[in-house]
């Protein structure tokens, strides 16, 4: 008897998924298609921009599918034959159950948190913002609920308290790619089965919006403020209003006494000293340069 060979359909859009796709290609998996969000307008002149995932797929001659509605590719998936496995890493769209059901043994998802903690779209930001001692990556099986599927494996990553959002994205993306490619053969041959999440311990994190950037220092402690600055670098950013200007803070530390005109008094009466910021001119400058130039 013959069967069609095991193929993978990879779902991913943002840079976090890039290292996993790269590892799968290197490991020689037969990737039938890469599903990514439609090209978005960005940059000057609002040019259509390919995601970096799409660029990698095109480079390796892997077909790219960019459905507006995910269910539109159900027919194409069904044609791939016997055993098609899905792998999803930060794709950015909800997968309907009709699509999930086409895969065997399902769609495997890489989620950058120690599930059931931080289900939802901002687990990396949440772990830094909340000053957690550790976070990690979970490999789970996608179900209809948000990030609530059973877990195949997890890896813990200790947090130093100094990492920023881009740092942790890079670290966890690499760790997730290695963990997934290590256990994938075991998932395929059925020698490991996933363990259900403990619903009682579950927590959710929210989708971050541009409007989350603006912080009123009198509502949070200096420590929380400093953590937020590191958690929100790049997006949604951390903004405060000083005088009439809106400043974006890119680096700060907690200080005991008032040491500079750019110290912000917080709810717990401690101050946050801004070390680096984006000035109204749009340039990232140091505390000293800002004081010399603007105050």
């Amino acid at each position: 008897m013959t069967k069609t060979s095991k193929t993978i359909v990879f779902f991913g859009t943002d840079d976090f998924s890039l290292s996993t796709l790269q590892k799968l290609i290197e490991a020689g998996y037969n990737i039938a298609a890469v599903v990514t969000k439609p090209d978005s307008k960005s940059g000057r002149g609002q040019m259509l921009q390919m995601s970096s995932v799409k660029k990698l797929a095109v480079k390796h001659n892997i077909p790219v599918w960019q459905p507006d509605k995910v269910a539109d590719i159900n027919d194409k998936i069904a044609k791939l034959g016997n055993e098609v496995m899905g792998i999803l890493v930060s794709y950015g769209k909800i997968i309907p159950i009709t699509t999930i059901n086409l895969f065997n043994p399902g769609i495997i998802n890489v989620h950058p948190s120690l599930l059931p903690q931080y289900r939802g779209p901002s687990p990396i930001e949440s772990s830094i913002k909340n000053g957690d001692p550790q976070t990690g990556v979970s490999i789970m099986k996608l179900t209809a609920g948000m990030d609530s599927g059973p877990i195949y494996a997890q890896i813990i990553h200790k947090l130093s308290g100094n990492e920023t959002r881009p740092d942790l994205y890079r670290t966890l993306s690499g760790a997730g790619a290695i963990l997934l490619t290590t256990i994938l053969p075991l998932i395929i041959d059925g020698s490991i089965s996933p363990t259900p999440q403990d619903e009682d311990k579950s927590s959710y994190c929210k989708l971050l919006l541009k409007s989350d950037a603006l912080i009123d220092p009198m509502t949070i402690s200096a420590k929380q403020f400093e953590q937020t600055v590191r958690a929100y670098i790049g997006f949604p950013k951390t903004k405060i209003i000083i005088g009439k200007s809106e400043l974006i803070i890119t680096k700060a530390h907690i200080s005991t006494g008032r040491t500079s005109p750019l110290d912000v008094l917080c709810k717990d009466k401690k101050s946050l000293t801004i070390d680096e910021l984006v000035a109204p001119s749009g340039k990232t400058i140091s505390n000293k340069d800002y004081i010399n130039g603007y105050l």
């Binding site: 008897m1 013959t2 069967k3 069609t4 060979s5 044609k79 791939l80 034959g81 016997n82």
Partner: protein
């Protein structure tokens, strides 16, 4: 032995019953060796398919001998287990449909209903009796091969099912076949 030694439809032998093997002779061991070489030679010529199993009738020996791939998900694992006089003691579980193809029916795939659990009895290459339970795709493979030893080809199981026939195209995608045009009165398949 090469993939060209595989007999394909409409060869009438594929619809004949094979005979039981009494003793594991050197000739039986040779057939097992040939089956393995042929299955791998065929697979090496097919970019999107895996040789999951083959039976002796497919290389023109009407003996009840089959070989099954040790890991039919991984092309890198190139060894097979031989089963002599394989018998299905009991079919269990539920009936599921999945795609299967056959080295003797090139390019045609079918969605075939099969039980997902089977209890199997056979003899190994050393002449010892083996009994085991097969699950999932392995249960499907064994049913397909035991059918061969009884002169049944997988398409016989879906003969009247209009939407069960597919063709594997050069990109490795399964395209539905036109039942009335390609299947119904196709003399290669049924005569």
């Amino acid at each position: 032995m090469k993939k060209e030694n595989i007999i394909t439809l409409p060869n009438p032998r594929l619809r004949q019953r094979s005979s039981r093997v009494r003793v594991v002779t050197p000739e039986v061991k040779n057939i097992i060796k040939d089956l393995t070489t042929v299955a791998l030679d065929w697979e090496d010529s097919r970019p999107h398919e895996i040789s999951a199993a083959i039976s002796a009738v497919q290389i023109n020996h009407l003996d009840r001998i089959i070989i099954v791939r040790s890991d039919f998900d991984d092309k890198a694992v190139r060894d097979f287990t031989a089963l002599i006089n394989p018998e299905i003691i009991k079919l269990e579980g539920e009936i599921t449909e999945d795609f299967e193809g056959c080295l003797s029916v090139p390019d045609v795939y079918g969605k075939v209903p099969r039980y997902n659990k089977a209890r199997v009895k056979a003899m190994d290459v050393d002449g010892n009796e083996v009994r085991f339970k097969a699950d999932g795709f392995l249960a499907r493979i064994i049913q397909h091969e035991v059918d061969h030893t009884n002169g049944i080809v997988f398409i016989d199981r879906i003969r009247d099912k209009k939407d069960a026939f597919y063709k594997l195209d050069e990109k490795g995608e399964l395209q539905p076949l036109d039942y009335d045009k390609d299947i119904k009165n196709n003399s290669i398949l049924w005569d």
